[in-house]
């Protein structure tokens, strides 16, 4: 059965990841699995600048480097295990029965690709281990993961509060229509008031699309509040959020090519960076 998979790395955001994952797991009635990936490149490398090589240098160097890696890996393994235990305990306290965990070596993205078929919802922190101090930094792995995986991803901030009102960012595109359908079909938000916001000019065409979204959601039993606003996407969504005390945004992610985003910047990245509430990214 497909899991809610929560990626944890021991940063300050981990408790919030646990809580949101537990919330999602309970609502969707899907088993919860915590994942910790032991990266390799994060270790500092020792340097011996003496610049000489002598009898058996290669063999010694290999042995030395292997021993060093071994020690560090042991510590990291142990730390990760403790972290996973703590996360599981937290999830049980949150009311999840039988959370599981796994630990893998390698790169986060590669590991997730391996498990992709098993992911029903992926929960990740907005920033990882190294982002703790940086203000608007977005975790180094996050963009890569969002771009690579084709599963729903819940990106969470460092403070947990149970979602009460959700907002679906809608623009009439295929991606966001799919998003509306997924929200309507999923048990995750059932019973929560749902706002649908379109950013752009108030034309009849846009009205039609918005009406479709409203109808689809109402059919699924949602109380829907749909509106069209003009302005910059990020600014409008942020303003709407404060105005209506929204505490979760559903949106399509990275609809454009990398080259275009390099030139004009990505709405998704900006929103992830600015948002103080969880984002559910659908691709």
């Amino acid at each position: 059965m497909a899991h809610v998979i929560a990626c944890i790395d021991g940063s300050s955001i981990t408790p919030a990841v646990c809580d949101y994952a537990a919330w999602a797991s309970r609502r969707m009635d899907a088993p919860l699995n915590f994942l910790h990936v032991l990266g390799k490149s994060e270790y500092p490398i020792p340097a011996d600048l003496s610049g000489n090589i002598g009898l058996g240098s290669r063999e010694h160097l290999l042995q030395e480097l292997a021993e060093l890696d071994e020690k560090r890996s042991r510590v990291a393994l142990e730390q990760g295990r403790l972290m996973l235990e703590a996360a599981k305990a937290r999830a049980i306290a949150d009311g999840v029965s039988n959370p599981t965990s796994r630990q893998r070596h390698g790169e986060l993205v590669d590991t997730l690709i391996e498990f992709e078929h098993d992911i029903r919802l992926l929960v990740m922190g907005r920033q990882g281990e190294h982002g703790d101090s940086a203000g608007e930094h977005i975790g180094s792995h996050l963009e890569n993961v969002v771009r690579t995986l084709h599963r729903p991803i819940l990106v969470v901030p460092s403070d947990y509060s149970e979602p009460q009102r959700i907002l679906v960012a809608f623009d009439g595109s295929a991606t966001t229509r799919k998003a509306v359908e997924m929200v309507a079909a999923s048990p995750l938000f059932r019973g929560l008031p749902c706002h649908v916001v379109m950013v752009g000019a108030d034309k009849s065409e846009a009205r039609e699309q918005l009406d479709w979204a409203r109808a689809s959601l109402e059919r699924a039993g949602f109380a829907v509040n749909a509106s069209i606003r003009s302005g910059q996407v990020e600014e409008v969504l942020c303003a709407y959020r404060t105005e209506h005390q929204i505490d979760l945004i559903v949106m399509g992610a990275y609809g454009h090519s990398k080259i275009r985003e390099f030139l004009v910047g990505s709405t998704t990245t900006k929103l992830i960076r600015q948002s103080k509430i969880p984002l559910l990214l659908l691709r």
């Binding site: 340097a47 011996d48 600048l49 000489n52 090589i53 290669r58 160097l61 480097l65």
Partner: protein, 492 residues
């Protein structure tokens, strides 16, 4: 993409720049020394080292590996330079690059799996011996000063790290010996005596050779050797770095990268080069891991040589000899000497044969070829022994059943025939092949021969299980690409 650039270039900036500097300092003496081996001006080797290091940093397949002018390549060029001159070397360098790119596209890097461990060890040891032998001309017919300085240099290289590990000891050696030679005004050979040093940044140069078939006929054999040796050493070095850093590399990209680097080198008046085992180990030891370390090594090398050229010319050859002896000692696999007794004789013979052939021909490609051939023969011989034939005579004494078990192929076909007793007068012979594997046409024709011989004696022959046994002639039956092929082969 941005992430991978970050990972490949800027994930270890401090370590890479420091390591690159250490490597650059060691590359200068090596590049000069290898130019001397090849019989060209030091600037040819120095430009080549700069260019190859910088280009492979971008297009190579193994981050953190150092490529530059090398001894393995230099020894192949000696006769070309002597007979035809520098311009033909540059043309050969270009052709080498083209061949290597072609080999990269043909994915010949995967052929490395046929090069066994003992051949690799033999290659490395032969390389170390070549580097050492190349220093001998600098150590013959010279005054005692040179011996004293070389010995002193080696002492500094290996003892200075006990005093301070933050300064590369080869650099200390060079500085101390240069200062000493200048201070004492010793009349010994210096780098300046070896030929022209670079005084400008490299400029684009097209080799001045006639573009005709004759030129091709001259350079082609050299280019093939250079291309093969260059890729061999590069692949081996990449594997060593893979092991040291516990990461993987893209071997076919490395092949193409070496080719591009050699073309670039040939176009700025540099000689052909490849990956360097010793320098790459120094790079990893000094903390270099990413492409930045290779780039830094190349750039620092050129800057130091161009702007400190007058000082570089003053370096006594004895100091370079000391550094090169260090590289030779560090490259040699000393454990392989101890293993000579421990390992099976066939392994040791392959290793020693590789070394001997290389030292005799000065061509690592021939050495590896001989080594691979020997290893394959030893292997075939070993596998041929996994075979026996048992036979039983029926109670009435009229039928004999031979049961063949094991591997039958070209190396064991003759012995297979010898197992049968053609003199025995029986009515019927049954040959049970259910537990045998026939690997090639030689084994099938051996069986035909057996059957024919029995028939001529008037014996009826029945062969059981031939189809299953000959299913191993995979070329014809192509069982290897069907699921369960292994079970079928091993279980029948």
């Amino acid at each position: 993409m941005i992430n991978s650039i970050q990972q490949n270039w800027f994930s270890n900036i401090r370590g890479d720049v420091l390591a690159g500097t250490v490597v650059a300092l060691a590359l200068i003496p090596e590049a000069i020394a290898f130019s001397v081996i090849a019989g060209v001006d030091p600037k040819v080797g120095l430009y080549a080292s700069f260019c190859i290091a910088v280009v492979t940093a971008f297009v190579g397949g193994r981050p953190g590996m150092i490529s530059a002018a090398t001894a393995a390549m230099a020894v192949l060029m000696v006769t070309l330079v002597k007979d035809h001159g520098l311009q033909y070397l540059l043309a050969a360098t270009l052709l080498t690059g083209v061949l290597q790119i072609a080999m990269g596209y043909l994915k010949l890097g995967s052929l490395m799996r046929f090069v066994s461990r003992s051949v690799v060890t033999g290659f490395v040891n032969a390389l170390a011996i070549l580097i050492f032998m190349a220093q001998l001309p600098e150590l013959t017919n010279v005054t005692w000063h040179v011996y004293a300085m070389t010995a002193g240099g080696l002492a500094i290289i290996y003892l200075f790290p006990y005093v301070a590990k933050s300064i590369p000891s080869p650099l200390v050696t060079i500085v101390v010996l240069t200062a000493l030679a200048m201070f004492l005004n010793l009349d010994i050979r210096t780098v300046g005596d070896m030929g022209e040093l670079p005084d400008t940044l490299p400029i684009f140069l097209w080799p001045e050779v006639p573009l005709n078939f004759e030129t091709l006929a001259i350079i082609f054999p050299y280019s093939v050797s250079l291309a093969v040796v260059g890729l061999l050493e590069s692949m081996m070095t990449a594997t060593i770095i893979d092991d040291l850093t516990d990461t993987t590399s893209d071997k076919n990209r490395e092949c193409k990268g070496q080719g591009v680097a050699n073309i670039a080198s040939g176009m700025i008046g540099g000689m052909a080069g490849c990956a360097m085992i010793g320098q790459s180990v120094i790079n990893v030891k000094s903390g270099g891991r990413t492409r930045l370390s290779t780039l830094a090594a190349g750039v620092f090398l050129l800057l130091m040589v161009v702007f400190l050229g007058d000082w570089v010319a003053q370096i006594p050859m004895a100091a370079l000899v000391a550094v090169m002896i260090m590289v030779s000692i560090g490259t040699f696999s000393w454990a392989s000497l101890a293993n000579l007794k421990k390992h099976p004789a066939s392994t040791s013979i392959v290793m020693v044969a590789t070394v001997v052939v290389v030292v005799a021909t000065h061509n690592l490609a021939i050495g590896v070829f001989v080594g691979v051939l020997l290893a394959a023969m030893f292997f075939a011989n070993k596998v041929a022994q996994y075979k026996y034939v048992s036979s039983t005579l029926s109670e009435d004494g009229l039928t004999r059943t031979y049961t063949v078990v094991g591997q039958v192929f070209f190396a064991s076909a003759d012995k297979f025939v010898d197992f049968f007793d053609f003199r025995e007068a029986v009515d019927k012979v049954v040959i049970d092949l259910c537990q045998a594997h026939f690997w090639d046409i030689t084994s099938v024709s051996a069986l035909d021969k057996v059957v024919l011989k029995f028939r001529r004696e008037g014996t009826v022959v029945e062969v059981i299980g031939l189809n299953e046994a000959s299913a191993t002639i995979v070329d014809r039956f192509a069982v290897h690409d069907k699921p369960g092929a292994v079970d079928n082969l091993m279980g029948h």
